[in-house]
Symmetry: C2
Amino acid sequence: MKKKIRVVQYGVGPIGAAIVRLMRQKQALVIAGAIDKDPEKVGRDLGEVVGAEDAPWGVTVSADPAEVLSHPTDVVVHTTSSFLVDVAGQLMECLEAGACVVSACEELSYPFRKHPELAAKLDEAAKESGVTLLGTGVNPGFVMDKLMLGLSAASQRVDHAKAVRIVDVSLRRLPLQKKVGVGLTVEEFQREVDAGSVKHVGLPESVAMLSDGLGLDVDTITETIEPVIATEPFRGEFIEVQTGQVSGIHQIARGMAHGEERVYLELNMYVGAADPSDTIQLSGEPNLRMVIPGGTHGDTATASIAVNAIPALLAAPAGLRTARDLPFCFFPPLSPP
Amino acid sequence: MKKKIRVVQYGVGPIGAAIVRLMRQKQALVIAGAIDKDPEKVGRDLGEVVGAEDAPWGVTVSADPAEVLSHPTDVVVHTTSSFLVDVAGQLMECLEAGACVVSACEELSYPFRKHPELAAKLDEAAKESGVTLLGTGVNPGFVMDKLMLGLSAASQRVDHAKAVRIVDVSLRRLPLQKKVGVGLTVEEFQREVDAGSVKHVGLPESVAMLSDGLGLDVDTITETIEPVIATEPFRGEFIEVQTGQVSGIHQIARGMAHGEERVYLELNMYVGAADPSDTIQLSGEPNLRMVIPGGTHGDTATASIAVNAIPALLAAPAGLRTARDLPFCFFPPLSPP
């Protein structure tokens, strides 16, 4: 490539804003446009919306994807929703405009089991336009799947894959605290879980990716969500929790093959969680364990992973790709376009 | 692919034998031949030479590469020497025969600084034959470079990369113990270091890969090798060490950019090393640390990594590739050819 890579940010929420600030540091990229429907953002300068010190950038946030995408766009970075049915139309529009897309939509990370028709349709549209589509982020897309696949390169035999992620959400943003039910009563928590609004989306996608990548032959994926109950009161910047209320979630996904557990993913996200860390473990020959003490900060890491994926995305064959297919690495700020 | 992948093992030493035993477990592979010049092995059944329970396999070890390679070969797994000048002729012969090659030759893992002409020549030969060449193993190729590049996908900025590998060589094979000077006097150790026979080969290659992958702009690579002195006697299966003799090596490679350290790789390989582990650390935004408690067993992991790389090797574009380019993952035993 000689020309800079023209990128568009689709969705300028907290993660989108972090992505935009990071993209601004990459000499190979030029931020050519931004899409968001929030009336508070539309019409304003993108640099100002994301709180950049060097604002204004001369890039205006638009509510009109068709207009933005009518200008030449190499890559769209997409961060609007966790659910594939909600974003499939947005993704199709980007692909049809001839842009590669990297999306933080959790269900896009490995959509072949839950949404096989949508996955096939997106794959076809990407191939028709000769572009690449990737769903990724920190989880799914990295700590509970991609890192484990990377470690498995040292394996002679893999019988079981396990990952445990412990996140202290005390200092995290409000939408994330709400997503894990912080401050609800146990009854409210259960209602929100039933309604699908308290949940981390993406564990079954990681289980499916691991099963395919490690040949674990998983036929059934189960998922449970339990509340973590506060044993002492907590007062944060956004939310208060009384003793006995919910301080977060304890969510477990299992991949079973012929009645036997082959994948176990455990997510602990609550205020005051002790010893935050990511631990992954492959049982087999040999047994391998890898720990990230302190863990990977979700928002920072998701922004990093989406932006760092851009060079691999552009180099990959056309179609719907996943974290499983692509070599992941840092995208150096001074790398040539 | 419909047909099985036809593999040839080039070099049937301890690592080659481990590779052959592992390849035998993969349904997608058929072991079509083996090359070794050792008169103790030539003419014997490969299964018997590697101590397989299901020997004989009907595959005879041959000292004649040209003859073996005259039969259709998809992939050669090559394990004969650490030094690129010693193996370049062997690799060329494989490439010219139209075979992809994965080699454990440490200097092939990232040969662009030390052997730019040889690297270009091998790349050209591979492209001319439409095949792929890869040098990899546990180190270089995995714990001190590839894993760190994988972790860096979560980075917004990388200022410094550090890896520390601690290996207890008490129970390892004799050639490895000799390679790290176990049982020598300090004077003998220094002579062997000067002669290049006591040394772990590959740290500068990892530094170079990290510099390029992380954009660290390293202009100078330094390397030091110190003896670790035994503070108590040790009697192993192969070697005895008296107090005051050498129990192994403490080897450090540094990558400097404009006088500043950007990469630090430290290798501790000695008998009785406490707390074996692999630790990698990226300083920047954020700081990230990852630990493999117990560490990765070198021989087992090198065999795994070489064999697990075969599917990615076959899928990669023709030419000389490195661990930096390819997505690494487990190669499931039942995966279709």
